[in-house]
Symmetry: C2
Subunit: 350 residues, 2 copies
C-alpha cells in the first residue's frame, strides 16, 4: 500500500503572519500548499495587517518563543523537514533562533546529502534603507554558510557582500563574493535597480547563479515587463514559489537531489541550471498574479468604498488604507497562475 502513495514534501515556513491580507507566511503557506507541499508554519509575528498600511496591531514572537515552538516539534518527531523557507524575523535574536533551527536540521541530516535544503530570504531592507535593526545584518551574515539558496534584493546583497552594486559588473562581483566567502550554493538577486543597454526601462531583471565545485559564479538573467504598481508580499511569493520550483527542477535531473545542496555538474552552463528553470516559472506565475491583482484593484476599491459608512467616505485622507487593501495580492482567485502559468520567460547569460 505504501508504494502507491505519494507523500508531499514537508516544508517548514518561518515568517510573519497577518490576519488580513497577503504577505509573509500568509502568502508562503498558501503558495507552498497549492504547489503540493505539506507546510509547517511557524509565525514570527501575528499582526492585523502588513505594515505598509502604516497602522497595525498585534504581537511579535520572542526568540525564546520561536525556539520553544521548534522544540515542541522536535519532541514529537515532527522535525523531519525536506525544506525550510525563512522570511521576515523580528530582531537579531530571532534571526539567530531561526538560524539555529536551520543549523540543527543541517546537522540532523548531515549523512543524507540533499535531504534538507534551506531557502533563506534575508529580509533587511530595500532601496538603500535598512528596515530592521543594524545588528540584524551580522546575525544574517553568520548564518549564510548554512543556507542553500539566498534571495536578497540588490540592497540586501550589498549589505551581505560588502560590495557596492551599481551595474552588472559589480552585481556579478557581489554574487562571486557570496559564493566564495560564505560558500552559498545558490543565489538569486530578486530585484535590480540599475538599467543595462539590453534592458528596456519598462522591464525588471532578476539575476541568479549556482556556483561550481570551485565556487565560481554561473550567472543568468531573466528580464520581464514591470507592472507599474507597488505591491507588498511579492518577495514572499517569490520565496514560496522558488522553494517549490527548485525542488521540482532539481528533481528532473537524475541523481541531483541526492547531492549536497543540489549542486549541478560544473559543465552545466548558467542558462541550463535547474535554478534558471525554476526562476523562469516563478516569474511567470508572479507576472500573471501581479497583472491580475492590478486588474482587480478598481473593483476592490469600489467595493470597499461602497461599504464604508458615510462619515468614513468623507475622509479622503483614508484613501491610503483603501488603496493598500486593493493592492493585496490576489492569490485564491489565481490558483491556476500559481500552479501552471501560461506565459513564459527565458533565462539568458548575464
Amino acid at each position: 500500500m505504501s508504494d502507491s502513495v505519494v507523500l508531499a514534501p514537508r516544508v517548514l515556513a518561518v515568517a510573519s503572519h497577518v490576519v488580513s491580507g497577503n504577505v509573509g507566511n500568509k502568502v508562503a503557506v498558501f503558495v507552498l500548499q497549492s504547489l503540493g507541499s505539506e507546510v509547517a508554519a511557524l509565525n514570527t509575528v501575528q499582526f492585523s495587517n502588513h505594515t505598509g498600511y502604516k497602522q497595525w496591531t498585534g504581537t511579535r514572537a520572542t526568540a525564546l518563543e520561536i525556539t520553544d515552538l521548534y522544540n515542541g516539534l522536535k519532541q514529537s518527531y515532527l522535525d523531519d523537514f525536506d525544506m525550510m523557507l525563512s522570511g521576515y524575523i523580528p530582531g537579531a535574536e530571532g534571526v539567530t533562533a531561526v538560524g539555529n533551527i536551520a543549523k540543527g536540521l543541517k546537522d540532523k541530516f548531515q549523512h543524507s546529502p540533499g535531504k534538507f535544503f534551506w531557502v533563506l530570504d534575508p529580509v533587511m531592507g530595500d532601496n538603500g534603507k535598512l528596515y530592521v535593526a543594524p545588528e540584524v545584518v551580522p546575525a544574517y551574515k553568520a548564518l549564510l554558510p548554512y543556507a542553500d539558496l539566498i534571495l536578497p534584493n540588490q540592497f540586501e546583497a550589498e549589505q551581505l557582500s560588502d560590495v557596492k552594486i551599481v551595474d552588472l559588473d559589480s552585481l556579478t562581483q557581489a554574487i562571486q563574493v557570496l559564493h566564495e566567502k560564505f560558500n552559498i550554493p545558490h543565489i538569486i538577486i530578486t530585484s535590480v535597480s540599475f538599467t543595462t543597454p539590453d534592458h528596456p526601462p519598462s522591464h525588471l531583471s532578476v539575476i541568479g547563479s549556482t556556483m561550481t565545485s570551485g565556487r565560481k559564479a554561473r550567472t543568468f538573467k531573466i528580464t520581464f515587463p514591470s507592472i507599474d504598481c507597488y505591491f507588498c508580499g511579492t518577495g514572499d511569493m517569490f520565496g514560496a514559489l522558488i522553494t517549490s520550483r527548485i525542488r521540482e527542477a532539481t528533481g528532473a535531473v537524475p541523481g541531483l537531489r541526492g547531492r549536497a545542496s543540489w549542486l549541478s555538474d560544473d559543465d552545466v552552463p548558467a542558462t541550463e541550471l535547474p535554478l534558471a528553470r525554476a526562476a523562469e516559472k516563478v516569474l511567470a506565475s508572479m507576472h500573471e498574479v501581479l497583472a491580475k491583482t492590478r486588474d482587480a484593484m478598481p473593483a476592490v476599491m469600489e467595493r470597499t468604498w461602497a461599504e464604508l459608512k458615510a462619515e468614513d467616505r468623507d475622509h479622503k485622507d483614508k484613501a491610503h488604507y483603501v488603496k493598500s487593501k486593493a493592492a493585496e495580492l490576489q492569490l485564491v482567485t489565481n490558483l491556476d497562475s500559481l500552479r501552471s502559468p501560461s506565459i513564459k520567460f527565458s533565462a539568458t547569460k548575464a
Copy 2:
C-alpha cells in the same frame, strides 16, 4: 473593468493555529482558500502541534489580544467580511471577545440583510466530557442568538439545549429548543452516537435543520460509512467546508442571499434545503479526504520511523507521536476531493 472581475468572498476565520499538522485554522484557512474565499485568519493560539499528541509547546492569545487584532482590522477598513467561521477559542473571556466581533459585524451590516453570516462551531467537548472550563458553556449560550449556523456535536448540543440526547426523538427536541429559544436559523449536529434501526453500525450520521419563519425545525439526516480511525481536525474541516458550501448552495436560489440568515421559504421541505445540499457536498469531501488519509498512514509512519535516530526507534512507547502524525489530515494532496468530490451522499428526512 470592475464588472468583469469576480471578487472572492471575504471570510474571517477565528481558530487555533498549529505549526505542524492540520487542525483549527491550519485546516480552515487552506480549505476556505481552496474553495475560493479570501481568508482573514485570526489565530487564537500558536501551538507546535495539536493537543492529541499529549505534548506541545506554544502560546495562547488573550481576550485582549484578540480584540486588539480585530480593532487593527477595523481602523484600516479591513472588517468588511461576508462570513465568519469561529472554532476553538481558549477560555470564556476569549469566547466573549470573539462573540463581540461577530455582534459588531451583525450590527454593522444590520441594514443589509444576508450580507454577513456567522458559522459558529461551539467547541466545548465530546463523548460526554467538557474539554474547556465550565464557564465557557454559558459564554457560548449568550452568543447563540447572533449565530446563523451552529455546528455542535451531540454532546455540545446537549450542553447548549439542556436536553439529554439518547435517540432521534430527543435529538430533534434539542434542535427544536435551539431554534426556538435562541432563534438559531441553521443547525447541524455533526456527530451522533446512538444507532437507529435504519442506521447500520458501520455508518455515522449528521442531522441538520433550517428553521421555518415560525421557528419550527425541518430536520434532515445524512448517513455515511464511517472510517475506523481517529482523526483530529475533522470538525474544523467540516466547519470550513460548510462555510463555503452554504454560501454556494444559497447562492443557487434566486434572492435567498438577500434575506436575513439566508432562511428558505416555509414550503421548502427538509431534504430540499440549501443546508442539506451543502452538507451532502461537505460529507462527500470529508469521506474522500479521510479515506485517503487512512490509506496514506502506513507510508507516513514508515517514513517517520525511517528517519528517526536508532535510539528513538527503540522507544516503542513513542509510537503514539508517530501515529498521531500519520493521522494528520492529508489536505494538500487531496485538493480535488475538497473542490469537487466524486462520491455523493443524499439527505433523507430525519
